[in-house]
């Protein structure tokens, strides 16, 4: 297929200033066991090409399932027609990129798509059964997903590369209901679980069956737990909730297309401006954030992004000061950067690349293990597992709810609290962070449902986190 793409690109330069073509084959399988029965087994295969061109006044992109030579030529012709029909505008340069060539694949041991349905169901049934410990558990679920994406990319700038990635993830959750009180607990995270660019060994590492009784017990306990208090408090966020906090209030805010207003029609803009790079105090000195597309196991890892820019590791925030943004070739050039940040990613063959997070992670601190951080905290709240999230279109004002909270009293974890929530303003919140746990608590958390772009694209990203502490935070807002 790479040969056909290369031939197509060889025919394109006479018709446009730039063109690229991607062939993507996606195979995905999702299993869900609920309340003792198989609720869902879905498998999906999709295969097609997307051709993007720059001609006349703008960009044109056409996607088709027809991967024959003729189908590719039609897609190129259509992309050109679409680009040329746009209102004429001044187009800036693209940041230069050396021609990318080669093959990349992620490391894994057990191909998750080669594991039999029977073996997967055996694991899910065992985990789900272990959740059904009380009649007030009205919904018990165990799920897993497996995915393989193969792609080929060629451009009029002599790029010719192929990539293959394998991903999988799993989760369990229990919903407890008593009258009008409904509570939920999940593991290892909510919203479908934590995935990784890895083999089935990643799913096995969760030990879902062992965790299930605790998850169910906490869901039941939450039904009668005391309400999370309202006021201001010291909070410790567990790694899972911190991942979403980074995702929403740092990752998206530092997407350069948003900063430059290119996403204002949907995802929004940013409270950060281009002139803030190198100067803005984003958070406390304990805040070090890195975008790393080379992170082993990261959902945002690759050999090259979807513009053929090599994967890179970029410090975004160092000791609390903003150093860089997430960029693609166009946005990087727009602010005079010499090279793209390598963050152009597309969801399948039928969407064009846009600026996306890779693996945006907080670097480990020196607060030791979680128990050390709790002991050092004295009084406060330990918030676990996201239940609800919302942030404004500038990524400044946020409100999160978590499935559970535990009191921290005299440096120890205490009773469970229900309906916990907290709210804040991005820079004040990150400036209030005074401790991050050490490397032994740090691990990547994979999110599979990051929505952006029009038409909508779902992207998969990881965030490396360790639990962290924040002072004087508004809690109990919902």
């Amino acid at each position: 297929m790479l040969g056909l793409l290369t031939e197509l690109m060889a025919r394109a330069p006479a018709r446009c200033s730039y063109a690229e073509a991607r062939h993507v084959t996606t195979d995905q399988e999702d299993l869900l066991v609920r309340n003792g029965r198989v609720e869902q087994i879905d498998s999906e295969s999709a295969d097609g090409i997307g051709v993007r061109v720059r001609a006349g006044g703008g960009w044109g992109f056409a996607a088709t399932r027809d991967t024959t030579n003729a189908g590719m030529e039609r897609a190129l012709t259509r992309a050109l027609a679409i680009a040329e029909s746009q209102p004429a505008t001044l187009v800036g340069p693209l940041a230069p990129v050396p021609p990318a060539r080669g093959h990349w694949s992620c490391a894994y041991h057990q191909d998750p798509l080669a594991i039999s349905l029977e073996d997967k169901l055996e694991l899910l049934f065992a985990a789900e059964a272990a959740l059904r410990t009380d009649t007030r558990i009205v919904r018990s679920e165990a799920e897993c997903s497996s995915r393989r994406v193969r792609s080929a990319f060629a451009s009029t700038e002599d790029a010719a590369l192929t990539q293959e990635r394998v991903e999988c993830g799993a989760a369990i959750s229990a919903i407890a209901l008593d009258g009008d009180e409904l509570q939920v607990r999940s593991y290892p995270s909510a919203h479908g679980g934590s995935a990784a660019c890895a083999g089935w060994e990643h799913v096995l590492s969760f030990d879902l069956v062992q965790h299930a009784p605790r998850v169910a017990a906490e869901a039941i306990e939450l039904l009668t737990a005391a309400q999370c208090p309202e006021g201001r408090a010291t909070i410790v966020l567990d790694g899972d909730q911190l991942a979403l906090q980074i995702h929403e209030s740092i990752g998206h805010a530092l997407e350069l297309d948003r900063v430059l207003l290119g996403e204002a029609s949907y995802a929004g803009t940013s409270w950060v401006s281009p002139t803030d790079l190198g100067a803005l105090r984003y958070g406390s000195e304990q805040l070090n954030i890195t975008a790393d597309a080379t992170l082993p196991g990261g959902l945002g890892s690759f050999g090259w992004d979807d513009e053929g820019v090599a994967a890179q590791r970029t410090p975004l925030i160092e000791a609390g000061v903003l150093r860089a943004a997430l960029s693609d070739r166009q946005s990087a050039a727009a602010i005079g950067l010499e090279r793209s940040g390598g963050c152009a990613r597309a969801d399948g063959f039928a969407r064009q690349p846009i600026v996306r997070m890779t693996n945006v992670s907080i670097e480990p601190g020196d607060a030791g293990a979680l128990e050390d951080l709790i002991a050092d905290t004295g009084e406060g709240l330990f918030l676990q597992t996201n239940r609800s999230w919302s942030i404004d279109d500038r990524r400044l004002h946020f409100q999160f709810a978590t499935e559970a909270a535990r009191e921290i009293r005299d440096g120890e974890l205490g009773r469970l609290l229900r309906s916990a929530s907290y709210a804040g303003v991005t820079p004040q919140f990150w400036r209030s962070m005074d401790a991050v746990c050490s490397a032994r608590e740090w691990r990547p958390r994979g999110l599979g449902n990051c929505g952006k772009g029009e038409p909508g694209q779902l992207m998969r990203v990881s965030h490396g986190t360790a639990p962290a502490r924040f002072r004087d935070v508004q809690v109990g807002v919902a």
Binding site: R34, S43, W59, G60, F61, S265, S390, D392, P455
Partner: protein
Amino acid sequence: MHTAQRALALAGPDSQVTVIHERSLLSRFARSAPTQATEVDDVTVEILALCDGHTATASTNLLDEQGLRATAQRAAAAARASASAGPGAYPGLAGPGPALPAHHGFDAETARLDPERAGAALRETFAVAAEHGLEAFGVWTVGDVETAIASSTGVRLSDRVTDAFMKVICRDADGCSGFASATAAAASGIDPVTVARRAASKVSPEPLAQLGPGTYPVVLEPEAVGLLLEFFGALALNGLAHVEGRGALSDKLGTHVATPAISLCDSPCFPRPLPRAFDFEGVAKAPITLVQDGVAQAVVHDRRSAALAGGGARSTGHAAQPGGSPFGPVPTNLVLAGGGAAGVDELAAPIERGIYVTRLWYVNPVREKETLLTGMTREGTFLIEDGKITRPLRDVRFTDSILRLLSATQALTQEQRLVTEGEFYGRRFAHGVVCPALRADGFRVTGATT
């Protein structure tokens, strides 16, 4: 239908094939310049296999015999694996139903996906923004989606619909912005100039006022009302959540759940929503009253949730995917009856100090059973003072319950508008809500932007 029947011939004895052919064009713009334009032409063949009360699906866009056969085999193997732990609860495939009601949801001109039309829409929009000294941001998009279902029980259905959507955000140099959108089954139903002018009218040169946390009377434009009703559909009208006791209307059918001014139905054939002939289980769409004069009447079902409900419950034609979605059925053609107010100015007239909201953003449930949501206002939030919509207001965060808002609704406009978020994740499925603007008391603001 030809592809559906080819696939059905390769599938097992108890199967449903759903073929969706999407053709779509979407043009984005920012700062009064085109940014991205995307055309998609793709076909998805989804084969649903049944085995002992279990379902499993496999899908592909490879339409040759090898691709379809492999997909059928995957679906059948998955259904057998599902059944290995005992019988399932799926009640079986639907049989052929009565003749489908006709609808006016297809427009041949729109189906041309003419990029020149997209370009013209953008030019007109940029011109309006320039007239006002503003920059324009937004989307113009059209889609043509054909759905065919063939099943081993003899169902043979096909439906072809088009949709058009445009949204415009006008923004000044200080970042003050205004939003407007339009949705129709045909591109000719959208006038870019009208949409752009409406968006521009929301951009005020006055400095932004600020409101602190508290409760305020509110006027919600149809875009805001529509989004709340979409959540209401998922949290309260979802038959699966209802049966499991998780739904917001569990144990509340037949009782007052809203003010008597609230009457809500799902009207798939009503000309103004984007019509649909059948759902993804091949069940014909039909109107259903959900809330009448403030009294909860019904929730919607697919075949799976209806079977769980028992008591003679039947699918209401709201399956969100073949075999029913694990998330349950949802209404996709909601219509909220209008009231007597001539317009939003009349809604604002009794308010001494309150909030006018154009649209809501990043809304998510906080506690599903209470329909408690949180989200932000965006691109057109104003202060209402002494009965008039006066100054622009910094966006606010709300944390409030839909059921509470519907119980505190005091008046609605006569005029209804078809509104949609225009988000097209995955395979394009255009849908919207027809609703008026409304005034409600006690809108709970829990924060404000600075």
